[in-house]
């Protein structure tokens, strides 16, 4: 076997992710030499590393090549996911700086874990091989287990990390076993090659087709845990509630980004032809749309009952996973893979900005003792902090999907592709549950604007525990993203309009 030359490895195509990995390793060393009271420097260096990776990503954006022996794809899908991951990570760092200081958990390792996790997400989006998917998924997840338990001597934070860890490892095992079965059926772990062997396997009617089917199912279970869809969602509320708020914000976005990127790649590149004879619809479509429907219904209805804002946002994030899964399910119809991927990417970017913004505002209201932010904490916010209340209202409207916000653009593209796939019942469930979601999002607006008279007297002008310059920047950035994507969606759709997962390699 030939040893590939550096040129054949085509490292430059993978440079956005590789540079972040290298930069993080370097930062691990640099951090050793930073004095204990100046750990915020690590945060700045981490932001610098992200910026470098972002610049490399711009250069690699329009490429359409593979790297590392076909294990890594550099295309617009990768580039767009990388942008979302980098933006989300940067905003999370801004959220973390003062939070860590306030909770006496300021350690350099935090930022390094964050960057490693982001690297994992970037590799996941680019993975064209089951091995890479697995390794990248672990690189994404393992730092998150630690970060969830990062608050020292806090039982809830440790419990959150433990739960996340057990269910995360559990789901990885499903993923590996599923990958093993698919490998057993097709003889390869490369997604593109799996695609070319699927038809042959189905034609032979051997045990291989059973392996393929079972492998796909286990893969769906494994990835379903990561992106938190029903019935694999039960860890989400506890983990989100217990983890430090910036970590929750980060994992609610980036873990979903990575998970769904892999989900789309596997389903659209490798398995679209996994269909019954003479059918243009992949066999997994029905399963996925049922899961999506269950996710939408459960996520939105249970969220209504929550009074703790972090838990509410946890269920809301489950519900949003359901909307994105609608697009993945639509990809099961022949010819819709690309538009489904585009819709899902736009939705993910829109969700990134909006959800980070919402978590950021919730973090501002959080007291230093780490107690829960409840819906009542929002009462009268529009008097005390008019600007903050306005921004939170805007994020809530975006999560509902009201026009002029990014949330509308995402929902609308997802519904459109679902309709094109002929999944009309799913589309109807989708729109009706978003009315349900309006109920609990609007409740925050009600508390901020409409129930001010019940607020305790003397609250006016009270300093907010979590407010700081960096957090404000993070909130403004999220707001700008939400608004611009809502008014000028063409900026984002232009970035994805040639995403071609399905057609990249001719059949």
């Amino acid at each position: 076997m030939d040893i590939p030359t550096l040129e054949q490895l085509n490292l430059s195509a993978a440079f956005p992710a590789i540079s972040l990995a290298l930069g993080t390793c370097l930062l691990l060393l640099v951090d050793l030499f930073l004095p204990k009271n100046r750990k915020y420097l690590t945060a700045w260096l981490a932001l610098g590393g992200l910026a470098v990776s972002f610049i490399f990503n711009l250069f690699a954006y329009n490429s359409s090549t593979t790297a590392l022996e076909g294990m890594f794809i550099a295309d617009q899908f990768t580039g767009f996911s990388n942008i979302a991951v980098i933006v989300a990570t940067a905003i999370s760092i801004l959220l973390s700086i003062d939070y860590l200081k306030r909770h006496q958990m300021e350690r350099g390792e935090y930022y390094i874990l964050l960057l490693f996790s982001a690297t994992g997400a970037m590799f996941m989006a680019a993975a064209n091989d089951l091995v890479v998917i697995f390794v990248a998924l672990e690189l994404l997840s393992i730092p998150l287990y630690i970060m969830a338990a990062f608050r020292p001597n806090d039982a809830r934070s440790e419990e959150s990390g433990m739960k996340y860890f057990i269910l995360g490892a559990f789901s990885s095992a499903f993923l590996v076993y599923g990958a093993a079965l698919i490998y057993g059926a097709s003889g390869t772990t490369n997604l593109t090659e799996i695609f070319s062997s699927v038809e042959g396997i189905l034609a032979t009617q051997s045990a291989s087709s059973l392996y393929l089917l079972a492998g796909t199912a286990l893969l769906v279970v494994g990835l379903g845990f990561k992106v938190a869809v029903v019935p694999f969602h039960m860890w989400t509320p506890d983990v989100y509630e217990g983890a430090p708020t910036p970590v929750t914000a980060y994992m609610s976005v980036v873990a979903k980004l990575g998970g769904f990127a892999s989900f789309l790649r596997v389903m659209i590149i490798a398995l679209p032809a996994l269909a019954l004879p003479e059918s243009t619809i992949a066999v997994w479509q029905t399963t996925l749309w049922l899961i999506a429907a269950a996710t939408l219904i459960l996520g939105n209805f249970v969220a209504i009952a929550q009074t703790n804002v972090k838990r509410m946002l946890a269920y809301s994030s489950i519900a949003h996973a359901g909307y994105i899964l609608m697009a993945v399910a639509a990809a099961g119809t022949a010819g819709l893979g690309d538009s489904a991927a585009q819709a899902a990417l736009i939705y993910l970017l829109a969700y990134t900005f909006t959800n980070l913004g919402a978590f950021a505002v919730a973090m501002v209201l959080e007291k230093t003792d780490g107690s829960n932010v409840t819906l009542d904490d929002f009462i009268g916010l529009s008097r005390r902090q008019p600007l903050l209340a306005f921004l939170m209202a805007f994020f809530m409207l975006s999560l509902i999907g009201i026009p002029t916000t990014s949330g509308f653009i995402g929902k609308w593209l997802v519904f459109q592709v679902t309709l094109e796939a002929g999944l009309i019942p799913l589309a109807i469930i989708g729109v009706l549950t978003s009315v349900v979601s309006a109920y609990y999002y609007v409740r925050i607006i009600v508390n901020m604007y409409l129930r001010e008279n019940e607020a305790a007297v003397g609250d006016e002008g009270e300093a907010l525990p979590g407010a700081s310059q960096y957090v404000n920047w993070a909130i403004y950035a999220s707001f700008a993203g939400t608004l611009i994507l809502g008014l000028l969606p063409v900026l984002a759709t232009n970035l994805v309009n040639t995403v071609n997962l399905a057609t990249m390699f001719p059949r």
Partner: protein
Amino acid sequence: MENTGLSLTTVTLFLPMVGLTIIAGMALLDAEKNRENFKWVAFAFSILTFFASLLMWANYNSADPALQLVQRNDWLPQYGISYYVGIDGISLLLVLLTTVITPIAVFASFRSHVIHERGREALYYGFMLLLEWAMIGVFVAQDLVIFYIFWEVTLIPMYFMIGIWGSENRVYAAVKFFLYTMAGSILMLLAMLYVGTQAGTFALPEIVNAVQSGAVSFPFDGLFSTQSFLFLGFLIAFAIKVPLWPFHSWLPDAHVQAPTAGSVILAGVLLKMGTYGIVRFCLPLFPEASVAWAPVVGGLAVIGIIYGAWVSYAQVDMKKLVAYSSVSHMGFVVLGIFALNAQGLQGATLQMINHGISTGGLFLLVGMLYERRHTKLMAAYGGIWKALPLFGAISLIVSLSSMGLPGLNGFVGEFTILMGAFGSEVLGFFFALFATLGVILAAVYTLAMFQKVYLGELDKEENKHLEPMHWQEIAVLIPILVLIFWIGLQPVGFFNTMDTSTEAIVNYVQPHIDEIVVENAASVSEAP
């Protein structure tokens, strides 16, 4: 598709946004110091918008059935969506209604106690302008997605207006308003997406042309087929907004809780968005389904007319009475539309304007009484004419206009609608007959209210020393009175403006009336 230059429509549409930006800037700079200035900015820009819309009217050629003052720019080219605005006669009249009602509502807010007490003038007047922007947008949008954006945006300011400056039960009413209307419109979104995906574009005129030429067709096969479901997807959204019986339950709550200006805009313009949507989307896009469903929708409209009138009569709260009377009046509009002939449609369009003016006026009057006595119960009044003769006289005129006295605006609209309904090929005699009953009932409840509040003895001590009318209150009512007489005595100008446009819409539907109605008649005669 070519991008076009700036059009007058866009200027009119975005003038309120300029005002909103200025208000936002002032609020960010120094909200406390500018407290008294916000209202003037809002008023100035709503007046400017009014003049711009008058310019639109002047530039409108009523002989030309095509869209006019069009502007079209790419918004999301990959998905066939463009910023596409333009007007025909129906749009133009409703834009004018909006630009007349908004300054009135803004000016009427100047003297409102509630706004003074609760403060937040920047928010209040900002929302007014946002609302005006969205309402004009709804009437000029010629692209499905753009229409939907404006349609949904109207929800937000109205929700806050009811919720922040409303009366005791405002939170409940605001949330109910929001969820109710959103539930309706979200199904419309699905139907729009389906239509747009099938047609490959979201530009309404192009889709309508494709439907008429048969290039795109939505299969129709009776009351429950693809086309009918799409029709219903649109219709339910519009019916909730109108509100058509039995979708009306949000309306009394919203009206009773909303501040006066909110009620004026809600009744004056927002409800018309529903009937306008039916005319603009349901009829041209789904002609067969419109014909097939016409008797059902017409029946609901007639039930609404009778029911609204009946319930109005039973009210003790003036605002609730006017709210339920809206259900009745808007039933007339829907009936006129689903007569599916030129007369019915013209009457319906004119009645949209009339209802906006008269009901808006009634809400203003109720608001003025409320400012003086802080109650809306009719039992608390009596003999007000003696205390405030000018006020009583104006109230009499507006009430008579609302109940349709000949010589005033309400009569022209209702009469044309009834003529249309009598002559309709799809509705038949009984619809018109029961609707006529509604006219009589309207006289009963309107006069009953007038009698209880204004006539009789001035026997309550509190009512004897009511503050006389302020010049601002008179100024607000003058445009309403002018319009009441103008439309009542000289409706020709209004009919001319919309003539070609209503004609065009009726022409879309007409061929299918013969087809479907004749077919049904044949199947009836075949049956044993």
